[in-house]
Symmetry: C2
Subunit: 381 residues, 2 copies
């Protein structure tokens, strides 16, 4: 527990009884190391859970750690990094107790640290499975960045580890936790005014910089633009339709001679067919900026553009021949998703984007690559 020596124990006991579907009885529960089950007291409202951030790259430094200040249920209490000096400096800035700094060797000993309830894995994709599973085995809940892993098999291992540990696993699909995307979901699902959704257009891309970064190494990234940014378009098609695709088409292209794309793909266009008949036409790119989700209905449409920036999202709708701005409440995406996970842990609820959500995306992305390579429409189970 971040703010109270005793809180961790009472929170865990609470989860095991009131909300822990996987742990039917306190007697069956495996106590976290160094913890002893005590009184079944409910979690005091407003208490913050302690978070360890693993992987101190740009996303952690510029988005996740600053967002903690705005969290109501989450506080950073530990950092994990392979670079001790960087970790010490960030610990000072973000007021993390220096005794809660870990490297990748000492990482498993986080199990004995009651100040850590949740581990947020912000490492390169290829490391997600290992560091998620180690955290789960250490008795911690895990929020893991997208894509969940490089293969569906790794996703399955992660889900199994969560189940075995009785801890929660959530994938960091932040757009599920911010109002613009949720307003577009509402527009998509509401069929009274403009009729049911007919088509979804979802495009996500950017012109990637530094050619030496891990995102451009296949072994670390698992793929190219699709795995990193196109996944937002795939996610959008899924959460806007509210359905799982039944088949996919795709094409890929990488500019010959561009040093960024010797190992991973640059552009992907892909099409998804959903059971209701909705077709989604999607684009992914590491070579150009794309940042738009549009839901097209019988008599109108609505769109976000930008749709996936950290800030400055914008919603417009075309209804009754009029183009309207549709401003929504603005939240910090990272604070919202971290607090959602903390709340799920506190209340025993299932997160909106659990491990199964990440696994589904991985399976679909593998089908997209297969469709591009084979030149065939690939059916999805």
């Amino acid at each position: 527990m971040a703010t109270n020596d005793d809180g961790g124990r009472s929170r865990r006991n609470f989860l095991r009884t009131a909300g822990g579907a996987l742990l039917a009885s306190p007697l069956l529960a495996r106590p976290a190391m160094g913890q002893v089950p005590e009184l079944d007291l409910p979690e005091p409202p407003g208490r913050k859970l302690g978070w360890a951030v693993v992987g101190l790259g740009r996303l952690a430094i510029h988005q996740i750690l600053p967002a903690m200040a705005g969290c109501r249920r989450s506080a950073v209490t530990a950092l994990v990094s392979g670079r001790p000096e960087k970790a010490r400096r960030l610990a000072q800035v973000f007021r993390v107790d220096p005794k809660n700094l870990y490297d990748y060797e000492s990482y498993d000993s986080i199990a004995r640290n009651p100040a850590v309830d949740v581990v947020y894995v912000v490492l390169p994709n290829s490391m997600h499975a290992e560091y998620t599973i180690r955290a789960l085995e250490a008795g911690k809940h895990v929020l893991c960045e997208k894509p969940m892993a490089n293969t569906p098999a790794d996703c399955e291992r992660m889900i199994a580890a969560a189940k075995a540990s009785g801890r929660k696993l959530m994938i960091a699909y932040r757009l599920h936790y911010e109002p613009y995307n949720q307003a577009l979901v509402k527009f998509a699902r509401e069929a009274q005014q403009e009729g049911p959704t007919q088509l979804i257009l979802a495009d996500a891309g950017f012109n990637i910089g530094d050619p030496t970064q891990w995102r451009l190494r296949r072994a670390m990234a698992g793929g190219g633009s699709l795995m990193d940014i196109g996944i937002y378009a795939l996610q959008a098609a899924r959460y806007l339709s509210g359905e799982e695709p039944v088949s996919v088409n795709a094409m890929t292209y990488s500019t010959p001679g561009d040093v960024r794309f010797t190992e991973v793909e640059e552009h992907v266009t892909f099409q998804l067919r959903f059971p209701s008949g909705v077709l989604a036409n999607c684009t992914s790119s590491y070579g150009a900026g794309l940042n738009r989700f549009r839901v097209v209905k019988r008599t109108g449409w609505a769109e976000l553009e930008p749709a996936l920036n950290y800030t400055g999202l914008r919603m417009r709708a075309w209804r009754g021949g009029v183009l309207q701005e549709m401003p929504q409440p603005v939240v910090d995406h990272f604070a919202a998703e971290m607090d959602h996970f903390s709340e799920c842990i506190q209340t025993g609820a299932e997160p909106r984007t659990p491990g199964g959500e990440g696994l589904r995306d991985l399976r679909i992305m593998m089908a997209i690559y297969e469709a591009a390579q084979s030149g065939r429409t690939v059916p999805l189970a």
Copy 2:
């Protein structure tokens, strides 16, 4: 000739000598029926060619005939319709000499009417080939609405008829003749500022009304939304890239139980790969409004939305982190395309959208249907 009894002859003589690539010498030229080659005088500047409009449906009445008033080189001089009363009323409104009214029986006798230089075929798609070929055989130049015909074979017959007659054949792709689309072409082709084009997104659709209209009958329309409105997205992908696609993917969907879509398809998503590597992601619909072409480059994009309305087009560009409006001169699309064709006839130039352009679209659309049906990427010759 519309405005001068003698003009027809001198214009034709001029074409045969100065600009008639197919007719090397006045001696080899086949004189139009009822005409005798005379002096090789150049066409007086500003003279209007006489146009016959064939098929008096909504497009002719509300767009083409009114647009004639704004033409500098074109005037309506004849009408062809199966409904004599409608033709008479429209002749009054648009000041067409009542002796120049034809029905589909008397159509071929237009050959003997020197007031008609050009025939504009605005009939249902299935009639394009027949009425184009009959007009060419009558010695008239032909502007034919898109799609050129229902099959590539019909397109080839039309092209052969134009060649045999020594008359010009143009397809009415009006967006080639208006400044917004041409400004987007310029943005696409200019590689200095934002780099070469990476991706093209082109969407064209509307929620079609009256379920009894010919556009929804396969025998008359040749297909559904793709043939009628998706063709604009296909065209845009081709003129924006400046290339011919080498392969296509597609999916189609028609809402079950919707009486509009018992014979033809409602939605089509299709992807085109171009030789340079540009990918185009396109959408066509008879069930929802789509009206946007976007060119995506390394460091910016530009788009038209609406892109294909008769009026009110709008261009925006994202450059240097700023979204800019890019207003362009406004023209009447129909007047511009008709005058382009009249000018080509007067000067002997090849129209920008000749029969070959329509044939290429038909071949690609057949490949799109094949891709959708087979679930395979279809290569294009």
